[in-house]
C-alpha cells in the first residue's frame, strides 16, 4: 500500500475516529481542530499537531470532516490557503450542500488542487471501527489517488461519478429517505394507536416482515416507545439535512412534497422545545396533531 502524508481537519465525534483509522493504516497524519482536546487524543495515537491550516495543507492530501457549509466555507474555501497549499487533493467528507460542492470544486480547480466529495453513512462507533459506507465522487484520477485513504476509513466506497456534487446529492438523498422513514412510522404508529393497536406490536411485525434492517427497527423502536433521548442525531441537524434536500431540489425545480411535510414537522418539533432530542422526536408532532398524550 502506498503511504501518503495526510492533513486532517475536524476532530469531532466522527473525525477523530476517522483520523485514527488513517494512522492505524500507516499514514502520517497532521491534525488540526478548533478546540485543542481532540488534538491531544490523536497526538497520543501518533498524529502530529498542526499549528495552523497552512501546515495541514502542507501534506500530500487533506481530509476534512466539518459539521456544515458555514464551517467549511469559513475555514477551507479560502483562496490564500489554497494558493499556498502543497496538497494535491482535498477529500471533503462532510454532509454539505450541493451548492457548496459546486463552488468548492471550481475553487480547488482554480488552484490546481483535486477535490473529492466523500460524505459517509455511519455513526461515531462505526467511524472508529473503520466500517463507514463512503459515498464518493470526483475525477477518476483523484478518486484513485485517495482510494487507500477511503479504504482505511470505510467498509466500502460507493462511486457516484466524476463530479463531486453527485456524492453530496446521494448523501442528501439518503438522509432524506431516513427522515421519510421516521415520519412514515410516526404517522403509522399514531394511526395504529388511535385505533387500538400497540405501536410496538406494529413495529415488531413490520421489521419482521416488510422492513428488515437497522433503520426501521432502530427508529421504529424509538417511535413506538416514545424514546427520543439520548439523541443519536439531534433534531436541528435533521432539519438542516431536510433543508439541504429542499435546497438541492429548488436549484433544479424539483418539488418534494414529502420534504415539505418534513420541514413543517421538524419546525413544529422545534417550536415545542425538542431541539435536544433525537430527530425521531418528530413522532411527537404526529401524536400531538392527533391529540394523543406525549
Amino acid at each position: 500500500m502506498s503511504v501518503m502524508t495526510v492533513g486532517f481537519v475536524g476532530l469531532g465525534a466522527m473525525g477523530r475516529g476517522m483520523a485514527a483509522r488513517l494512522l492505524a493504516a500507516g499514514h502520517p497524519v497532521r491534525v488540526w481542530n478548533r478546540s485543542p482536546g481532540p488534538v491531544q487524543e490523536l497526538v497520543a495515537k501518533g498524529a502530529t499537531a498542526a499549528a495552523g491550516l497552512d501546515e495541514v495543507y502542507d501534506s500530500e492530501a487533506v481530509v476534512s470532516m466539518l459539521p456544515d457549509d458555514r464551517t467549511v466555507e469559513a475555514l477551507l474555501l479560502d483562496g490564500a490557503l489554497l494558493a499556498g497549499a502543497r496538497a494535491g487533493v482535498h477529500v471533503n467528507m462532510a454532509t454539505v450542500s450541493a451548492a457548496l460542492a459546486e463552488h468548492a470544486t471550481a475553487l480547488h480547480a482554480e488552484h490546481g488542487i483535486g477535490y473529492v466529495a466523500a460524505p459517509v453513512l455511519g455513526r461515531p462507533g462505526v467511524a472508529a471501527a473503520g466500517e463507514l459506507n463512503i459515498l464518493a465522487a470526483g475525477e477518476a484520477a483523484q478518486l484513485e489517488r485517495v482510494g487507500p485513504l477511503l479504504a482505511a476509513m470505510g467498509r466500502r466506497t460507493w462511486h457516484f461519478g466524476d463530479r463531486p456534487v453527485q456524492a453530496n446529492t446521494a448523501k442528501i438523498s439518503a438522509n432524506f429517505l431516513l427522515a421519510c422513514a421516521i415520519e412514515s412510522m410516526a404517522e403509522a404508529c399514531t394511526l395504529a394507536e388511535a385505533n387500538g393497536v400497540r405501536p410496538t406490536d406494529l413495529i415488531e411485525m413490520l421489521t419482521g416482515t416488510l422492513f428488515p434492517g437497522p433503520v426501521y427497527s432502530g427508529y421504529g423502536a424509538m417511535v413506538a416507545e416514545r424514546r427520543y433521548e439520548p439523541a443519536g442525531f439531534r433534531l436541528p441537524l435533521g432539519l438542516k439535512d431536510v433543508g439541504l434536500a429542499l435546497a438541492a431540489g429548488e436549484a433544479r425545480n424539483v418539488p418534494l412534497p414529502f420534504g415539505s411535510v418534513l420541514r413543517d414537522a421538524f419546525l413544529d418539533a422545534l417550536a415545542h422545545g425538542d431541539a435536544d432530542k433525537d430527530w425521531a422526536a418528530v413522532a411527537a408532532v404526529a401524536r400531538r396533531r392527533a391529540g394523543l398524550p406525549d
Copy 2:
C-alpha cells in the same frame, strides 16, 4: 392436528392458493366463487363445489378472501345468511376498512358466530407456497380455534389483540408504509437525477446500506428504472389502501400529512392514465412535477 370442514369464499389470485393450502393440510374445503373457472381448479385439487353461500356456511369454519369492502358487504354481511349458518367462526382475510371490521364483528356476534380478522402480507406466489405473514385479531378462543387453518396458509401469524379491527388497522398501516416508501424513493430518485446522480446508483447504495430487504430493493428498482409494468399491485388498489388509512385516521381525528400527499399523487397518476400500472408508477408523478421526461 385437528381437521375441520372449511367453507372458502373468494378464489382470486390469492384465495386459490390459500384454499389449496388448506386442502393440502387435510381439511375438507367447500369452495365458492363468483366466476366458475377457479372453482374447477380447486375441485381438481380435492375441494367440493358449493352451490351457494349457504352451503359454504354449512361448515365448521368459513374463510373468505374478497377484494374490498363492497364485495364483503354485498356477499357476506347478510343477516339471513348468518342466521342460517352452521359455521362457528368466520375468518375474514381481506384488506378491508376499520369501519367494516367493527360492523362485521357486531353483526357476527348478534348471530353467535365468531369473527376473526386475518389480513395477509404477500403476493399470490407467497400464498400458494403457504408463506404468508398473517396479521390476526379476534377473541382468544376464536384465534385458537382457527390457528391450524392460519398455520396451513402462513409462515407466521402476528397477533394484534382481541378486537378484529386491530388486525385490519395493522394491515392498513403496513400498506401505508409501503406507499410512503415508494413515494420517498420517487422523490429521492427525482432529486438525485435532477442533480446528476443515476437513480440506479442511488438505489443500489441505499439497499446495500441503510435499507435492505425486498421492499426497497424491489420498488427501488422499479422506480429507478421506470419499470411500472406488469403491475404487481395496481395503482387504483394503492389509492384504495391509502384511502383506508385516511378513513381510519379521520374516524379518530388523526391527521396523516404523508397520507394526504400520497392521495394527491395517486390521483395525479390516475389523471394521467396510469390505472393499469403498478403503484410504483406514482414515481412518474414525482418526475412530471420536476419536468423530467417520462
Copy 3:
C-alpha cells in the same frame, strides 16, 4: 306573479326563514320537519302542517333544505315517495355531494319529476331577509318554473347550467375557497405574530387594501382576536364541506393540495376538542404548530 303550492321540507335555522319568504310572496306552503317546534312557527305565519312527506309531495313544487347527504337520502330519495308524488319539481337547496346530485337527478327523472339543485350562500339572518345568493342548475324549463320561488328567497340567482350537479359543485367550490381564506389568514397571522406584528394590525391593513369584503374582515377578526365562539358555522361542518370538495375531486382525479392541508388541520382541531367552535378555530391549529399560546 304566478302562485304555486309548495311543499317545504326542513325547517332548520335556514329553512324556516326561507319558507317564511315563500309565504310572504303569496305561495301556499305545506311544511314538514322532523321536530315539531318550527312547524308551529311557520303555521303561525300562514303555512299548513303536513302530516307526512307524502302530503308535502302533494304540491306543485317541493323545496327542501336539509343538513346533509344522509338526511336527504333517508327522507327524500325514496322511490315510493316519488312514485306517489303530484309534485312536478323538487328544488334541493342543501349543500350536498356531487355524487348525491347525480343520483338524485337520475332518480327524479325515472319518476318524471324535475330536479333543480339550488344551494345558497348566506347565514340564517340573510335567509330570513330573502337576501340569499342562490346557485342554481337544472333543466332550463325547470329553472324557469321555480324562478319565482327562488326570487322570493334570494337577492340573486346564479345559473351554472342544465345539470344539477353543476350548482352543487359551485357551492362546494365556494365553501372550499372560504376554508382556504381562513387557513391562509391563520398562517399569515401566526407568521406575523411570531415575528412581532400584531395580527389585528395585519388584518386591518389587508382588509383596507387587498382584501375588502365580509369574508376577510369577518373571519380575519375572528382569527386575529382568537374569538371562535359563538360558532357561526361549526368546525365539523367545515370538515364536512372540505370532504365534499375532496370527494368531488377524487371522483374526477383532481388533486387538491390545499384541500388536503385543510382536512389535516380540521382533524387536528377536532382532536383538540374544538368541535363546538366556529371553523375559524382552525387558526388555533396554526398557532399550536408554532408553539404560540392558545
Copy 4:
C-alpha cells in the same frame, strides 16, 4: 410642508414613479440607478443625477427601492458608505427578508443613521399616481421625520411598530395571502371544470358575492381564462416572496403548510418553463395535476 433633500436609489418600474412623486411634492431629489436610462427620465423631471452612492447619501434622507436582498446588501449595507453619510435616515421600501431588516437596522444604528422599513402594495401605475399603500415600521421619531416623504408617495401609510422588521413581515404576509388566494382559485377552478362548471361562471359568482375586490376578480379572471401573459408579477418573483415567508417562518419555528404547497407548485411551474409568465400561471400546475389540457 417641510421640504428635505432626498437621495433616491433604484429607478425601476416602481422607483421612478415614486421618485417623481417626491419631486412633484417639492423635495429636491438626487437620483442614482445602475443603468443610466431612468436617471435621464428623472433629471428631465427636475432631479439631480448623483455621480455615486456617496453623493446620494449626502442628503437629509435616503429612499431606496431595490429588487431584492442581494442588491440591497451589495449596494447599501456597506459600512464605508454609511460611515461617510450625511443622511440621517434611510427609508428602505423594497420587499426584503425579515433577516435583512434586522441586520440593516443594527448596521444603521451603529452609524447613527435612522432606518425605516416601508415596503409598499401597488403596481407601477399606482406608484406613479402616488396611490401606494405603504407599510411602515421604525422608531417613532424617524417615522415622523419621513412622514411627508411617504405621504407624497402613498395614499395611506399603515404603521406596524417601532422595529423595521415588523413592516417587512407585514408585507411578506400580504404577498403570502395573495399567493394563497391564487392557488385557492386555481384548485377551485380545476375542481369546478372537472365537474362540468365553467370557471368563468364560478369566478363571476364568487366575486359578486363572497370575494369582492381586485385580487379575486383580477387573478380570478386570469386563472379562469388561463391568461398568464403579459406578466404583471413574474412567477420567479412569486417564488421569491413565498420563500421570504417560509424563511421568516423558519426563523421563528412557524410551519406554514399552505406555504409549503405554494413552494412546490411554483417549482413545478418553473420546471415546466413558465418563468416569464405571471404568477397566476401556478394555475397551470393545478390543471396539469388533474390531467386537464393546458
